[in-house]
Amino acid sequence: MTQVVYERPQEHMGMPLPTPKVAMWLFLVTEIMFFTALIGTYIVLRHGTPAQSPFKWPAPHQVHLIEWIGALNTFVLICSSFTVVLAHHAAVKADMKKATSYVAITLALGGVFLGIKAYEYNSKFQHDILPGHIGESLPYPAKGGGDNDLKAIEREKHEHATGMQYFHRVQLQLEAIKKSSIDAEIQKECNALLDAMTATTAAEGQAVAFHRPPSPAEVGERVNEILEKAEKKGVTLHLTPAIPFGNLWASCYFAMTGFHALHVLGGVVVFAIILLMAVIGRLGPQHSTMLELVGLYWHFVDIVWIFLFPLLYLV
């Protein structure tokens, strides 16, 4: 009933596609799911946060994300996508010299992308915008009266320790700043903050009677002010800012761009290998399929960035 009998078998049973290409597409399927999960995680986490300011998802400038750099990187990847497709095109035409040079350009563009990425990462490290560092859920001093006091107390209890982690981190950084020499005005402010903070730890025996220690929230506020000033003056300060949801943002940012950068790196390595083959003269028109496959991968990496860029930098 269901069995079809051919006395004369068909020649080729498979898809009219070369086996490696089938495999490549299947590999891309797994990659699509991988990034879907990452992006899905990001979207969910982001939408799970409250929408009202000041407790909403950090804006790009808060986390020192510069949009035009992201746009530039997008452009770089688009260019590289273009060149890689031209490389394949040349290889199909058996013009290996042209193909090689296009691969070289692609490789260079991949390098540029990674360079820009590294620059961006560096600025995050400089500003200490790293997962687990940023002061985000700081206990706020009570404003208003009545129930809000109670709420604040409860909240304070709940997060005191978290806040204190931030407090201590800032304290260490301020001490380091004290030892270094930077812009005098900013140094002064930092020292003032440090003094205010250490007055709490001095505690017993000293005359600190009228010196209420700043709460972690207040420390956060002042740190942000100092950072703003330093920004205006062009001074780089190694101080951890207080950003609501900063840790979550940093987690997502590093995970998503990090895995994307790893994929770019993988592509760059493959291009380097191809280039090496070309240099020792082992690259021929028979490799055009291979170039197409690498291209597929590279375009996929490009597409991922096409989505990451707006999601992280713009929206």
Binding site: H12, V44, Q52, A71, N148, E154
Partner: protein
């Protein structure tokens, strides 16, 4: 059953293709600029957030489709690989959609430290 191999090699067709590649490249660059401007426009207050988000996402989708169709040769290979691609897109989109309501409209967060201290909503 046609034999497999790389795409058919006619010179004329090839030059056409290069042209296509180039057009797509230009289009992609312009689109990138568009999304950048759309973002800037919100900051300047020319358009509201939702319009810009819509523009930006739409642009990203169009860009991805262009890259897929032309650069990844899906306009040639679609008939051969659609059965791989279609399910994965359904699955991916579905996953995000199912995840969304749960984390977004689930139970109210409790004593969420991040909500402004003054906001106290009454009973539900």
């Amino acid at each position: 059953m046609t034999e497999t191999g790389h795409p058919t090699t006619h010179d004329a067709a090839h030059d056409l293709r290069v042209k296509a590649y180039f057009t797509v490249f230009i289009a992609l660059s312009i689109f990138t600029l568009v999304s950048f401007i759309a973002n800037e426009a919100v900051r300047q207050g020319w358009i509201d957030l939702y319009t810009s988000v819509t523009i930006i996402i739409a642009v990203a989708v169009i860009k991805a489709i262009l890259v897929g169709l032309i650069f990844m040769h899906l306009n040639f290979d679609w008939g051969k690989v659609y059965f791989i691609i279609v399910p994965i897109f359904i699955l991916g989109v579905m996953m995000m959609m199912v995840l969304m309501p749960d984390t977004v409209i689930a139970w109210q967060p409790s004593q969420n430290p991040l909500e402004p201290p003054v906001s106290t909503t009454g009973t539900r």
